[in-house]
Protein backbone atom coordinates (compact mmCIF):
# COMPACT_ATOMS: atom_id res chain seq x y z
CA UNK A 1 0.00 0.00 0.00
CA UNK A 2 1.21 3.51 -0.79
CA UNK A 3 2.70 5.26 2.21
CA UNK A 4 1.98 8.72 0.76
CA UNK A 5 -1.23 9.09 -1.25
CA UNK A 6 -2.11 12.55 -2.54
CA UNK A 7 -5.29 13.29 -4.45
CA UNK A 8 -6.08 16.54 -6.22
CA UNK A 9 -4.43 18.58 -3.49
CA UNK A 10 -4.86 22.32 -4.03
CA UNK A 11 -3.71 25.36 -2.06
CA UNK A 12 -4.81 28.86 -2.87
CA UNK A 13 -3.56 31.86 -0.90
CA UNK A 14 -6.16 34.58 -0.92
CA UNK A 15 -9.51 34.69 -2.71
CA UNK A 16 -10.37 32.44 -5.61
CA UNK A 17 -10.63 35.21 -8.17
CA UNK A 18 -7.41 36.96 -7.22
CA UNK A 19 -4.72 34.41 -7.82
CA UNK A 20 -3.75 31.17 -9.39
CA UNK A 21 -3.28 28.41 -6.79
CA UNK A 22 0.20 27.86 -5.35
CA UNK A 23 -0.47 24.12 -5.64
CA UNK A 24 -2.99 23.12 -8.26
CA UNK A 25 -4.68 19.71 -8.23
CA UNK A 26 -1.57 17.72 -7.33
CA UNK A 27 -1.86 13.91 -7.19
CA UNK A 28 0.79 11.34 -6.38
CA UNK A 29 1.46 8.04 -4.64
CA UNK A 30 4.77 7.11 -3.07
CA UNK A 31 5.66 3.55 -2.08
CA UNK A 32 7.33 2.64 1.23
CA UNK A 33 11.10 2.89 1.07
CA UNK A 34 11.08 5.15 -1.97
CA UNK A 35 13.21 8.29 -2.21
CA UNK A 36 11.04 10.75 -4.08
CA UNK A 37 12.24 14.08 -5.45
CA UNK A 38 10.18 17.17 -6.20
CA UNK A 39 11.77 19.64 -8.62
CA UNK A 40 10.61 22.97 -9.92
CA UNK A 41 11.62 26.61 -10.25
CA UNK A 42 11.42 29.10 -7.37
CA UNK A 43 7.83 29.71 -6.42
CA UNK A 44 6.59 26.53 -8.11
CA UNK A 45 4.83 25.48 -4.91
CA UNK A 46 7.21 22.84 -3.57
CA UNK A 47 7.37 24.15 -0.03
CA UNK A 48 3.65 24.84 -0.02
CA UNK A 49 2.98 21.21 -0.95
CA UNK A 50 5.30 19.94 1.78
CA UNK A 51 3.69 22.26 4.33
CA UNK A 52 0.28 20.79 3.53
CA UNK A 53 1.61 17.24 3.84
CA UNK A 54 3.23 18.04 7.20
CA UNK A 55 -0.05 19.57 8.53
CA UNK A 56 1.36 23.11 8.75
CA UNK A 57 -1.00 24.46 6.09
CA UNK A 58 -4.63 23.46 5.62
CA UNK A 59 -5.40 22.39 2.04
CA UNK A 60 -7.93 24.43 0.08
CA UNK A 61 -9.28 21.23 -1.49
CA UNK A 62 -8.26 17.65 -2.17
CA UNK A 63 -6.86 15.14 0.28
CA UNK A 64 -3.80 13.18 1.27
CA UNK A 65 -2.90 10.36 3.61
CA UNK A 66 0.50 9.72 5.14
CA UNK A 67 1.09 6.20 6.50
CA UNK A 68 -2.68 5.77 6.60
CA UNK A 69 -3.48 9.02 8.40
CA UNK A 70 -5.48 11.77 6.74
CA UNK A 71 -3.69 15.14 6.87
CA UNK A 72 -6.90 17.04 7.59
CA UNK A 73 -8.70 14.69 9.95
CA UNK A 74 -5.84 13.02 11.83
CA UNK A 75 -3.12 15.67 12.06
CA UNK A 76 -1.67 14.21 15.27
CA UNK A 77 -1.45 10.79 13.65
CA UNK A 78 0.44 12.31 10.73
CA UNK A 79 2.68 14.30 13.08
CA UNK A 80 3.68 11.16 14.95
CA UNK A 81 4.59 9.37 11.74
CA UNK A 82 6.66 11.99 9.96
CA UNK A 83 9.95 13.76 10.36
CA UNK A 84 10.30 17.18 8.75
CA UNK A 85 13.32 19.33 7.98
CA UNK A 86 11.99 22.69 6.78
CA UNK A 87 13.61 24.87 4.16
CA UNK A 88 14.41 27.46 6.84
CA UNK A 89 16.36 26.83 10.03
CA UNK A 90 14.69 24.52 12.53
CA UNK A 91 17.12 24.18 15.42
CA UNK A 92 17.53 26.73 18.18
CA UNK A 93 20.91 28.45 18.07
CA UNK A 94 20.71 29.51 21.71
CA UNK A 95 20.61 25.90 22.94
CA UNK A 96 23.17 23.12 22.64
CA UNK A 97 22.73 20.36 20.09
CA UNK A 98 21.93 17.95 22.89
CA UNK A 99 19.27 20.23 24.36
CA UNK A 100 17.61 20.66 20.97
CA UNK A 101 17.31 16.88 20.74
CA UNK A 102 16.22 16.45 24.35
CA UNK A 103 13.31 18.87 24.01
CA UNK A 104 12.12 17.25 20.80
CA UNK A 105 12.44 13.75 22.29
CA UNK A 106 10.22 14.85 25.15
CA UNK A 107 7.69 16.56 22.90
CA UNK A 108 7.43 13.42 20.79
CA UNK A 109 6.93 11.35 23.92
CA UNK A 110 10.01 9.16 23.61
CA UNK A 111 9.86 7.11 26.85
CA UNK A 112 12.13 8.43 29.58
CA UNK A 113 14.16 5.22 29.83
CA UNK A 114 15.03 5.28 26.13
CA UNK A 115 15.63 9.00 25.81
CA UNK A 116 19.33 9.24 26.52
CA UNK A 117 20.16 6.12 24.52
CA UNK A 118 18.12 7.35 21.61
CA UNK A 119 19.74 10.80 21.64
CA UNK A 120 23.21 9.24 21.94
CA UNK A 121 22.42 6.95 19.03
CA UNK A 122 21.20 9.68 16.66
CA UNK A 123 24.10 11.95 17.59
CA UNK A 124 26.48 9.17 16.70
CA UNK A 125 24.50 8.36 13.57
CA UNK A 126 24.98 11.88 12.22
CA UNK A 127 28.49 12.20 13.65
CA UNK A 128 27.91 15.02 16.14
CA UNK A 129 28.72 13.33 19.49
CA UNK A 130 31.83 15.40 20.04
CA UNK A 131 30.03 18.75 19.71
CA UNK A 132 26.74 17.77 21.35
CA UNK A 133 27.22 20.14 24.29
CA UNK A 134 28.25 23.19 22.29
CA UNK A 135 25.76 25.95 21.49
CA UNK A 136 24.31 25.47 18.01
CA UNK A 137 25.35 29.07 17.17
CA UNK A 138 28.86 27.78 16.89
CA UNK A 139 28.05 24.97 14.42
CA UNK A 140 28.91 25.04 10.72
CA UNK A 141 26.16 24.82 8.09
CA UNK A 142 26.78 21.13 7.50
CA UNK A 143 26.66 20.37 11.22
CA UNK A 144 23.38 22.26 11.59
CA UNK A 145 21.83 20.29 8.74
CA UNK A 146 22.95 17.02 10.32
CA UNK A 147 21.54 18.10 13.68
CA UNK A 148 18.25 18.88 11.95
CA UNK A 149 18.29 15.39 10.43
CA UNK A 150 18.97 13.92 13.86
CA UNK A 151 16.08 15.92 15.27
CA UNK A 152 13.74 14.80 12.52
CA UNK A 153 14.56 11.09 12.94
CA UNK A 154 14.66 10.95 16.73
CA UNK A 155 11.16 9.49 16.98
CA UNK A 156 11.93 7.06 14.15
CA UNK A 157 9.35 8.22 11.64
CA UNK A 158 8.56 6.00 8.65
CA UNK A 159 8.33 9.08 6.40
CA UNK A 160 10.80 11.93 6.18
CA UNK A 161 10.09 15.27 4.46
CA UNK A 162 13.18 17.25 3.52
CA UNK A 163 12.73 20.70 2.00
CA UNK A 164 15.96 21.50 0.14
CA UNK A 165 18.16 19.43 2.48
CA UNK A 166 21.47 20.46 0.89
CA UNK A 167 20.97 24.16 0.18
CA UNK A 168 23.97 26.18 1.32
CA UNK A 169 26.18 23.13 1.90
CA UNK A 170 29.67 22.67 0.47
CA UNK A 171 30.28 19.66 -1.80
CA UNK A 172 31.68 17.51 0.99
CA UNK A 173 28.82 18.25 3.37
CA UNK A 174 26.36 17.70 0.53
CA UNK A 175 27.83 14.30 -0.23
CA UNK A 176 27.67 13.42 3.49
CA UNK A 177 23.98 14.38 3.48
CA UNK A 178 23.30 12.11 0.49
CA UNK A 179 25.03 9.24 2.27
CA UNK A 180 22.97 9.91 5.37
CA UNK A 181 19.70 9.83 3.43
CA UNK A 182 20.64 6.59 1.65
CA UNK A 183 21.80 5.09 4.94
CA UNK A 184 18.46 5.91 6.60
CA UNK A 185 16.61 4.18 3.81
CA UNK A 186 18.97 1.21 3.95
CA UNK A 187 18.85 0.78 7.74
CA UNK A 188 15.20 1.55 8.42
CA UNK A 189 13.38 1.55 5.11
CA UNK A 190 12.52 5.22 5.64
CA UNK A 191 10.49 6.79 2.86
CA UNK A 192 12.00 10.13 1.88
CA UNK A 193 10.17 12.97 0.14
CA UNK A 194 12.56 15.78 -0.75
CA UNK A 195 12.76 18.94 -2.83
CA UNK A 196 15.92 20.23 -4.43
CA UNK A 197 17.34 22.65 -6.96
CA UNK A 198 20.38 20.45 -7.58
CA UNK A 199 19.76 18.28 -10.62
CA UNK A 200 22.68 16.03 -9.86
CA UNK A 201 21.25 15.40 -6.41
CA UNK A 202 17.88 14.39 -7.85
CA UNK A 203 19.61 12.14 -10.35
CA UNK A 204 21.85 10.37 -7.83
CA UNK A 205 19.45 10.14 -4.91
CA UNK A 206 15.90 9.78 -6.16
CA UNK A 207 14.07 6.71 -7.36
CA UNK A 208 11.43 8.90 -8.95
CA UNK A 209 11.08 12.59 -9.65
CA UNK A 210 8.13 14.89 -10.22
CA UNK A 211 8.42 18.28 -11.91
CA UNK A 212 6.26 21.01 -10.45
CA UNK A 213 5.59 24.15 -12.45
CA UNK A 214 3.11 26.83 -11.42
CA UNK A 215 1.71 24.41 -8.87
CA UNK A 216 1.02 21.72 -11.41
CA UNK A 217 2.76 18.44 -11.99
CA UNK A 218 4.20 18.61 -15.51
CA UNK A 219 6.26 15.40 -15.49
CA UNK A 220 6.89 12.35 -13.35
CA UNK A 221 9.07 9.27 -13.61
CA UNK A 222 12.46 7.76 -12.88
CA UNK A 223 15.42 9.98 -13.75
CA UNK A 224 16.19 7.72 -16.70
CA UNK A 225 12.62 7.76 -17.98
CA UNK A 226 12.43 11.55 -17.70
CA UNK A 227 15.63 11.97 -19.66
CA UNK A 228 14.23 9.71 -22.35
CA UNK A 229 11.21 11.99 -22.80
CA UNK A 230 13.33 15.01 -23.61
CA UNK A 231 14.43 15.54 -27.20
CA UNK A 232 18.21 15.41 -27.43
CA UNK A 233 19.65 18.89 -26.99
CA UNK A 234 21.53 20.34 -29.92
CA UNK A 235 25.06 19.40 -29.17
CA UNK A 236 27.13 22.45 -28.57
CA UNK A 237 30.85 21.92 -28.93
CA UNK A 238 32.33 20.55 -25.73
CA UNK A 239 28.94 19.76 -24.13
CA UNK A 240 28.26 16.26 -22.91
CA UNK A 241 26.48 14.23 -25.57
CA UNK A 242 24.10 12.70 -23.01
CA UNK A 243 20.85 14.24 -21.81
CA UNK A 244 21.25 15.45 -18.23
CA UNK A 245 18.69 16.31 -15.58
CA UNK A 246 19.48 19.94 -16.33
CA UNK A 247 18.12 19.43 -19.83
CA UNK A 248 15.01 17.80 -18.39
CA UNK A 249 14.46 20.68 -15.98
CA UNK A 250 14.89 23.30 -18.68
CA UNK A 251 12.65 21.41 -21.04
CA UNK A 252 9.75 21.29 -18.60
CA UNK A 253 10.10 24.73 -17.10
CA UNK A 254 11.49 26.76 -19.96
CA UNK A 255 8.58 29.18 -19.96
CA UNK A 256 9.43 30.13 -16.40
CA UNK A 257 11.34 33.28 -17.24
CA UNK A 258 8.81 34.66 -19.70
CA UNK A 259 5.70 33.94 -17.67
CA UNK A 260 7.04 34.90 -14.25
CA UNK A 261 4.55 37.41 -12.95
CA UNK A 262 3.94 37.56 -9.25
CA UNK A 263 5.52 36.64 -5.96
CA UNK A 264 8.94 37.79 -7.09
CA UNK A 265 9.94 39.70 -4.00
CA UNK A 266 8.64 37.16 -1.57
CA UNK A 267 10.38 34.34 -3.40
CA UNK A 268 13.65 36.19 -3.63
CA UNK A 269 13.60 37.21 -0.01
CA UNK A 270 12.99 33.67 1.19
CA UNK A 271 15.54 32.22 -1.18
CA UNK A 272 18.20 34.68 -0.12
CA UNK A 273 17.38 34.09 3.49
CA UNK A 274 17.73 30.37 2.89
CA UNK A 275 21.04 30.84 1.15
CA UNK A 276 22.48 32.68 4.14
CA UNK A 277 20.60 30.81 6.83
CA UNK A 278 23.66 28.90 7.83
CA UNK A 279 25.95 31.89 8.00
Amino acid sequence: MAIIAIQDLTKRFGPKSASRPAVDGFSLTVEPGEIFGLLGPNGAGKSTLIKMLTTLLPATSGQATIAGCDIGRQPMGVQRRIGYVPQALSVDGTLTGYENLLILAKLYGVPRRQRLDRIGAVLQYVGLESVAHRLVNTYSGGMIRRLEMAQATLHRPPVLFLDEPTVGLDPVARKAMWDLILQLRHDYGTTVFLTTHFMEEADVLCDRIAMLYHGQQVAIGTPAALKATVPHPETTPGASPETTMDDVFIHYTRNALTTETEGGYRDTSTTRRTAKRLG
Binding site: L56, P58, Y84, L95, L107, P158, D179
Partner: protein, 278 residues
Protein backbone atom coordinates in the same frame (compact mmCIF):
# COMPACT_ATOMS: atom_id res chain seq x y z
CA UNK B 1 31.25 10.17 10.13
CA UNK B 2 30.62 6.85 11.82
CA UNK B 3 27.22 5.32 11.73
CA UNK B 4 25.71 2.80 14.04
CA UNK B 5 22.21 1.56 13.34
CA UNK B 6 19.63 2.49 15.96
CA UNK B 7 19.07 -0.37 18.34
CA UNK B 8 15.35 -0.72 17.71
CA UNK B 9 13.51 -0.84 14.40
CA UNK B 10 12.61 2.55 13.02
CA UNK B 11 8.92 2.01 12.78
CA UNK B 12 8.02 1.74 16.42
CA UNK B 13 5.37 4.43 16.13
CA UNK B 14 2.60 1.92 15.74
CA UNK B 15 2.79 0.61 19.29
CA UNK B 16 2.44 2.50 22.51
CA UNK B 17 2.21 6.05 21.19
CA UNK B 18 -1.54 6.34 21.68
CA UNK B 19 -2.44 9.06 24.08
CA UNK B 20 -4.31 7.40 26.90
CA UNK B 21 -4.49 10.30 29.37
CA UNK B 22 -5.02 13.55 27.50
CA UNK B 23 -4.78 15.79 30.57
CA UNK B 24 -1.54 14.23 31.76
CA UNK B 25 -0.22 14.43 28.18
CA UNK B 26 -1.23 18.10 27.97
CA UNK B 27 0.51 18.92 31.24
CA UNK B 28 3.63 16.98 30.27
CA UNK B 29 3.90 18.73 26.88
CA UNK B 30 3.34 22.15 28.47
CA UNK B 31 6.15 21.47 30.92
CA UNK B 32 8.47 20.48 28.07
CA UNK B 33 7.63 23.71 26.23
CA UNK B 34 8.34 25.60 29.46
CA UNK B 35 11.60 23.71 29.91
CA UNK B 36 12.63 24.92 26.47
CA UNK B 37 12.15 28.54 27.59
CA UNK B 38 13.97 28.01 30.86
CA UNK B 39 16.91 26.36 29.12
CA UNK B 40 17.20 29.35 26.80
CA UNK B 41 17.20 31.65 29.83
CA UNK B 42 19.89 29.58 31.49
CA UNK B 43 22.23 30.19 28.59
CA UNK B 44 21.61 33.94 28.71
CA UNK B 45 20.62 34.96 32.26
CA UNK B 46 21.86 38.54 31.86
CA UNK B 47 18.71 39.51 29.93
CA UNK B 48 16.73 39.01 33.14
CA UNK B 49 18.32 41.94 34.85
CA UNK B 50 18.47 44.42 32.00
CA UNK B 51 14.85 45.19 32.80
CA UNK B 52 15.62 46.07 36.42
CA UNK B 53 15.97 49.81 35.87
CA UNK B 54 12.31 50.61 35.46
CA UNK B 55 10.88 49.27 38.76
CA UNK B 56 13.86 50.68 40.62
CA UNK B 57 13.21 54.17 39.20
CA UNK B 58 9.50 54.02 39.95
CA UNK B 59 10.06 52.91 43.51
CA UNK B 60 12.91 55.25 44.36
CA UNK B 61 11.84 58.42 42.55
CA UNK B 62 8.07 58.33 41.99
CA UNK B 63 7.44 56.46 45.22
CA UNK B 64 9.64 58.67 47.39
CA UNK B 65 8.22 61.90 45.97
CA UNK B 66 4.58 60.87 46.34
CA UNK B 67 5.22 59.69 49.86
CA UNK B 68 6.22 63.28 50.66
CA UNK B 69 3.21 64.75 48.86
CA UNK B 70 0.66 62.68 50.79
CA UNK B 71 -1.78 63.55 47.99
CA UNK B 72 -3.24 60.10 47.52
CA UNK B 73 -5.61 58.59 50.10
CA UNK B 74 -4.33 55.10 50.82
CA UNK B 75 -6.13 54.34 54.05
CA UNK B 76 -3.79 53.62 56.92
CA UNK B 77 -1.04 52.54 54.55
CA UNK B 78 2.11 54.52 53.73
CA UNK B 79 2.21 55.40 50.04
CA UNK B 80 5.38 53.31 49.54
CA UNK B 81 3.62 50.26 50.98
CA UNK B 82 0.61 50.98 48.79
CA UNK B 83 2.50 51.33 45.52
CA UNK B 84 5.09 48.55 45.88
CA UNK B 85 2.67 45.75 44.85
CA UNK B 86 1.52 48.02 42.01
CA UNK B 87 5.06 48.47 40.75
CA UNK B 88 5.72 44.72 40.85
CA UNK B 89 2.56 44.17 38.82
CA UNK B 90 3.62 46.93 36.45
CA UNK B 91 7.00 45.40 35.74
CA UNK B 92 5.38 42.01 35.15
CA UNK B 93 2.96 43.68 32.72
CA UNK B 94 5.68 45.59 30.85
CA UNK B 95 7.88 42.52 30.61
CA UNK B 96 5.26 40.07 29.38
CA UNK B 97 3.31 42.31 27.02
CA UNK B 98 6.14 41.93 24.48
CA UNK B 99 6.32 38.10 24.57
CA UNK B 100 4.73 38.10 21.11
CA UNK B 101 7.95 39.59 19.75
CA UNK B 102 9.87 36.47 20.74
CA UNK B 103 7.48 34.21 18.96
CA UNK B 104 7.53 36.32 15.78
CA UNK B 105 11.30 36.11 15.93
CA UNK B 106 11.12 32.32 16.22
CA UNK B 107 8.62 32.20 13.38
CA UNK B 108 10.89 34.24 11.11
CA UNK B 109 13.84 32.00 11.91
CA UNK B 110 11.75 28.88 11.29
CA UNK B 111 12.22 27.32 14.73
CA UNK B 112 8.52 27.50 15.43
CA UNK B 113 7.67 25.21 12.51
CA UNK B 114 9.50 22.37 14.20
CA UNK B 115 7.37 22.69 17.33
CA UNK B 116 4.22 23.09 15.28
CA UNK B 117 4.66 19.73 13.48
CA UNK B 118 5.25 17.88 16.74
CA UNK B 119 2.32 15.91 18.13
CA UNK B 120 1.77 18.31 21.04
CA UNK B 121 -1.50 20.17 21.64
CA UNK B 122 -0.89 23.73 20.46
CA UNK B 123 -2.42 25.15 23.63
CA UNK B 124 0.20 23.20 25.59
CA UNK B 125 2.89 25.02 23.59
CA UNK B 126 1.18 28.32 24.48
CA UNK B 127 1.00 27.37 28.16
CA UNK B 128 4.70 26.51 28.01
CA UNK B 129 5.50 29.96 26.66
CA UNK B 130 3.32 31.51 29.36
CA UNK B 131 5.15 29.60 32.10
CA UNK B 132 8.42 30.70 30.54
CA UNK B 133 7.29 34.33 30.74
CA UNK B 134 6.35 33.71 34.38
CA UNK B 135 9.80 32.39 35.22
CA UNK B 136 11.33 35.39 33.50
CA UNK B 137 9.19 37.72 35.61
CA UNK B 138 10.33 36.11 38.87
CA UNK B 139 13.51 38.11 38.37
CA UNK B 140 11.41 41.27 38.74
CA UNK B 141 10.04 39.92 41.99
CA UNK B 142 13.57 39.58 43.30
CA UNK B 143 14.49 43.12 42.26
CA UNK B 144 11.35 44.72 43.67
CA UNK B 145 11.76 42.90 46.99
CA UNK B 146 15.37 44.02 47.33
CA UNK B 147 14.65 47.67 46.54
CA UNK B 148 11.47 47.74 48.63
CA UNK B 149 13.26 46.20 51.61
CA UNK B 150 15.99 48.84 51.35
CA UNK B 151 13.33 51.57 51.24
CA UNK B 152 11.73 50.21 54.39
CA UNK B 153 8.48 48.91 52.89
CA UNK B 154 6.59 46.69 55.33
CA UNK B 155 7.04 43.45 53.41
CA UNK B 156 5.79 40.18 54.78
CA UNK B 157 8.59 37.60 54.87
CA UNK B 158 6.40 34.60 55.66
CA UNK B 159 7.41 31.86 53.21
CA UNK B 160 3.77 31.11 52.38
CA UNK B 161 3.14 34.76 51.49
CA UNK B 162 6.22 34.90 49.28
CA UNK B 163 5.12 31.70 47.57
CA UNK B 164 1.73 33.30 47.03
CA UNK B 165 3.35 36.41 45.53
CA UNK B 166 5.40 34.22 43.18
CA UNK B 167 2.22 32.45 42.12
CA UNK B 168 0.44 35.72 41.40
CA UNK B 169 3.46 36.97 39.43
CA UNK B 170 3.43 33.77 37.34
CA UNK B 171 -0.31 34.07 36.77
CA UNK B 172 -0.12 37.71 35.75
CA UNK B 173 2.79 37.00 33.43
CA UNK B 174 0.89 34.09 31.89
CA UNK B 175 -2.16 36.26 31.32
CA UNK B 176 -0.41 39.20 29.69
CA UNK B 177 2.09 37.11 27.71
CA UNK B 178 -0.73 35.02 26.27
CA UNK B 179 -2.53 38.22 25.34
CA UNK B 180 0.62 39.27 23.52
CA UNK B 181 0.86 35.89 21.76
CA UNK B 182 -2.72 36.29 20.56
CA UNK B 183 -1.79 39.69 19.14
CA UNK B 184 1.20 38.05 17.43
CA UNK B 185 -1.06 35.43 15.81
CA UNK B 186 -3.16 38.19 14.26
CA UNK B 187 -0.49 40.75 13.56
CA UNK B 188 2.31 38.52 12.25
CA UNK B 189 5.00 41.24 12.24
CA UNK B 190 7.39 42.70 14.82
CA UNK B 191 6.23 46.25 14.18
CA UNK B 192 2.58 45.55 14.82
CA UNK B 193 3.18 43.42 17.92
CA UNK B 194 5.44 46.15 19.25
CA UNK B 195 2.84 48.78 18.39
CA UNK B 196 -0.04 46.98 20.08
CA UNK B 197 2.17 46.33 23.12
CA UNK B 198 3.06 50.04 23.39
CA UNK B 199 -0.56 50.99 22.84
CA UNK B 200 -1.87 48.67 25.57
CA UNK B 201 0.67 48.90 28.34
CA UNK B 202 0.13 52.45 29.56
CA UNK B 203 -3.70 52.33 29.52
CA UNK B 204 -3.64 48.97 31.31
CA UNK B 205 -1.31 50.42 33.91
CA UNK B 206 -3.08 53.73 34.50
CA UNK B 207 -6.59 52.29 34.35
CA UNK B 208 -5.85 50.09 37.34
CA UNK B 209 -5.37 50.38 41.07
CA UNK B 210 -1.58 50.08 40.73
CA UNK B 211 -0.56 53.55 41.94
CA UNK B 212 -3.81 55.05 43.21
CA UNK B 213 -7.02 53.55 44.63
CA UNK B 214 -9.99 53.03 42.34
CA UNK B 215 -12.26 55.16 44.57
CA UNK B 216 -10.62 58.43 43.58
CA UNK B 217 -11.12 57.80 39.82
CA UNK B 218 -13.93 59.30 37.75
CA UNK B 219 -16.86 56.91 37.35
CA UNK B 220 -16.14 55.67 33.82
CA UNK B 221 -12.53 54.91 34.73
CA UNK B 222 -13.66 52.97 37.76
CA UNK B 223 -15.65 50.71 35.45
CA UNK B 224 -12.65 50.20 33.16
CA UNK B 225 -10.41 49.52 36.13
CA UNK B 226 -12.74 46.89 37.50
CA UNK B 227 -12.65 45.12 34.12
CA UNK B 228 -8.86 45.31 33.97
CA UNK B 229 -7.17 42.05 35.06
CA UNK B 230 -4.18 44.05 36.27
CA UNK B 231 -6.38 45.43 39.06
CA UNK B 232 -6.95 41.93 40.42
CA UNK B 233 -3.28 41.10 40.14
CA UNK B 234 -2.35 44.22 42.13
CA UNK B 235 -5.06 43.50 44.67
CA UNK B 236 -3.90 39.93 45.20
CA UNK B 237 -0.34 41.22 45.65
CA UNK B 238 -1.55 43.78 48.22
CA UNK B 239 -3.09 40.91 50.14
CA UNK B 240 0.08 38.84 50.07
CA UNK B 241 3.11 41.12 49.98
CA UNK B 242 2.54 43.39 52.94
CA UNK B 243 2.64 42.75 56.66
CA UNK B 244 -0.82 44.29 56.81
CA UNK B 245 -2.91 42.74 53.98
CA UNK B 246 -4.42 45.70 52.14
CA UNK B 247 -6.47 44.34 49.27
CA UNK B 248 -10.06 45.44 48.60
CA UNK B 249 -11.21 42.10 47.18
CA UNK B 250 -10.78 38.64 48.65
CA UNK B 251 -7.67 36.78 47.59
CA UNK B 252 -9.86 33.94 46.32
CA UNK B 253 -11.80 36.23 43.99
CA UNK B 254 -8.68 37.84 42.55
CA UNK B 255 -6.96 34.50 42.03
CA UNK B 256 -10.05 32.99 40.41
CA UNK B 257 -10.27 35.88 37.97
CA UNK B 258 -6.58 35.64 37.08
CA UNK B 259 -6.75 31.86 36.61
CA UNK B 260 -10.01 32.00 34.68
CA UNK B 261 -8.93 34.72 32.27
CA UNK B 262 -5.54 33.09 31.70
CA UNK B 263 -7.13 29.72 30.95
CA UNK B 264 -9.55 31.28 28.46
CA UNK B 265 -6.80 33.22 26.72
CA UNK B 266 -4.54 30.14 26.54
CA UNK B 267 -7.29 27.98 25.05
CA UNK B 268 -8.14 30.70 22.52
CA UNK B 269 -4.49 31.28 21.63
CA UNK B 270 -3.98 27.54 21.14
CA UNK B 271 -6.54 27.68 18.35
CA UNK B 272 -4.89 30.68 16.70
CA UNK B 273 -1.31 29.49 17.15
CA UNK B 274 -0.99 27.47 13.91
CA UNK B 275 -1.71 30.69 11.97
CA UNK B 276 1.75 31.88 12.86
CA UNK B 277 3.40 29.43 10.48
CA UNK B 278 0.94 29.70 7.61
Amino acid sequence: MTRQPHAAPLNDWANGTRVTAPIADFAAKALVAAELEVRKLRHDPIQLFTRAVQPVLWLTIFGQVFTQVRGIPTGGLSYMDFMTPGILAQSVLFMSIFTGLLVIWEKDLGILHKLMVSPAPKSALVLGKAIGAGVRCLSQLLIVYIVAALLGVGLSWRPLDILGVATVVMLGAALFSTFSLIVACWAQTHERVMGVGQLMMMPLFFASNAIYPIDIMPGWLQVVSRLNPLTYMVDALRNLMLVEPAGSYSLGLSMSILIGVSALLIAFCGRLYPRLVR
